[in-house]
Symmetry: C2
Subunit: 240 residues, 2 copies
DNA sequence: CCCAACGTCAACATAACTGTTGACATATGA
DNA sequence: TCATATGTCAACAGTTATGTTGACGTTGGG
């Protein structure tokens, strides 16, 4: 299914099939790449601020159109600049996505794990979790939604270091929530309606689905309201 | 070869994009188009069966990789055929998506509306709805998930007849579920935790989120189990 | 003033994808 | 047998995307 790279001569230097190996390492330096790295390492404030601006604009587009549906040209346009200029700040689209998503997604996991580790009763953990998650979603809008919407597998083919990392983050998140439910099942404070994981996914789903309809600025409800409502619903639904 | 719009001719109409008009009608006939239409209208059994095979293969890929992430070449490959052969059956990728999704999404709405129209008490409607939806998701896997995953806006730019239709379907679905909850709020059988819509979206979210983790064949739970569990959780959570 | 860091620009190379074409194969029934 | 419906193939055209390049501007500090 790789019929013809072309019938014309293909310069052997250029034809090195770089897409076979997964090579998360050693992308060929390239000139602008060196400038970028330099600027990044030097790390002036304005540089990083501009980087954040770019990430913010990208987040909006990723949220609206998805990763695949967002072109760097569109990001550049949103910033009223040229696409090539972005390369002064980021190496490629995936790195931009990473920039947008990484910190906030890790905060999210940390939140879930902190709640799990707290000393309060399981049911209260659940309530706190739901409330705090919704707060976080509201506070970090739309960045957290970008993260939720993308089914990592859709972003990249799945074997890169980055994608492994992201899967790990997701996994820890699911595990933390599941563990909270499990505690409740174990001490009898949560009814054994189904396995801890199924129940946990139900809760997560209710929260995560808000990405489809909740736009903080344009909503009659605050994220806090939603969190409180869903927490109440979940707790009443699960409590023994 | 290709540099049509390079420095030779600096097209002055650089800023006149042709994609402004939406033209859902009158795609130029084209030869294979005529053959396709002919075959379709004549409608032999084998023709439509092949069409269904194609839709099924496409559904798998759409589900795994999303609309944008799925190329017709990939669909052809999955069927061990050539991409061009697909054009004997479908006119373009969107039509294929439509083929996959349309019927089942309308069935889904019909289901929700039927439950709404049934004579049972609101809380029982809710329970029935959740159970039946999960059954439907299991039965129609992965087709319904394809539909859920795509945030129509990501599939097409939003002004076409098709996209209006799809938004309408979504809307009717949301409205039906909301109406069920509203009935419960009105007759006092459901606690006024939040607005009917917020609660409805919570329920829908819990169910729809299963698209991220539930694979019928590879799951220890049946769709029925999940439906029963979530129904129980929702009903207990909302009942007065 | 001048230089280096900062930032931008136009253009190119490469690739993937969609939609289309016209010729070619097969098989089926009249 | 032969015409027709059915189905496939290789190839191309047009579009859009990414990543890169090298030259060009701008600006503030020494």
């Amino acid at each position: 299914m790789r019929p013809e790279k072309s019938d014309t001569q293909l310069t052997p230097e250029h034809g090195v099939p770089a897409q076979v190996e997964v090579a998360d390492t050693a992308p060929p330096p390239s000139d602008i790449g060196r400038k970028r790295r330099l600027a990044f390492d030097k790390g002036s404030e304005s540089y990083h601020e501009r980087r954040r601006e770019i990430a913010k604009a990208a987040a909006q587009l990723f949220n609206q159109r998805g990763f695949k549906g967002t072109s760097l040209a569109a990001v550049a346009e949103a910033l009223a600049t040229d696409r090539a200029s972005l390369y002064y700040y980021i190496a490629n689209k995936r790195e931009l996505f990473d920039e947008v998503v990484r910190e906030v997604s890790e905060d999210n996991v940390a939140l879930a794990e902190a709640v799990l580790a707290s000393g309060i009763p399981p049911v209260e953990k659940l309530r706190t979790l739901v409330v705090e998650l919704m707060r976080s979603y509201g506070r970090n809008y739309p960045v957290l939604y970008v993260y939720i919407r993308e089914d990592l597998t859709h972003v990249e083919n799945g074997r890169t270091e980055w994608s492994r990392h992201m899967r790990g983050v997701n996994r820890r998140y699911d595990d933390a929530v599941t563990a909270i439910v499990q505690e409740g099942l174990d001490d009898g404070s949560i009814r054994p309606i189904a396995s801890a994981r199924v129940l946990a996914f139900g809760v997560i789903g209710m929260i995560n689905w808000t990405n489809r309809w909740f736009v903080p600025d344009r909503s009659p409800h605050s994220a806090d309201d939603l969190g409180a409502a869903y927490a109440e619903m979940v707790v009443a639904g699960l409590q023994a």
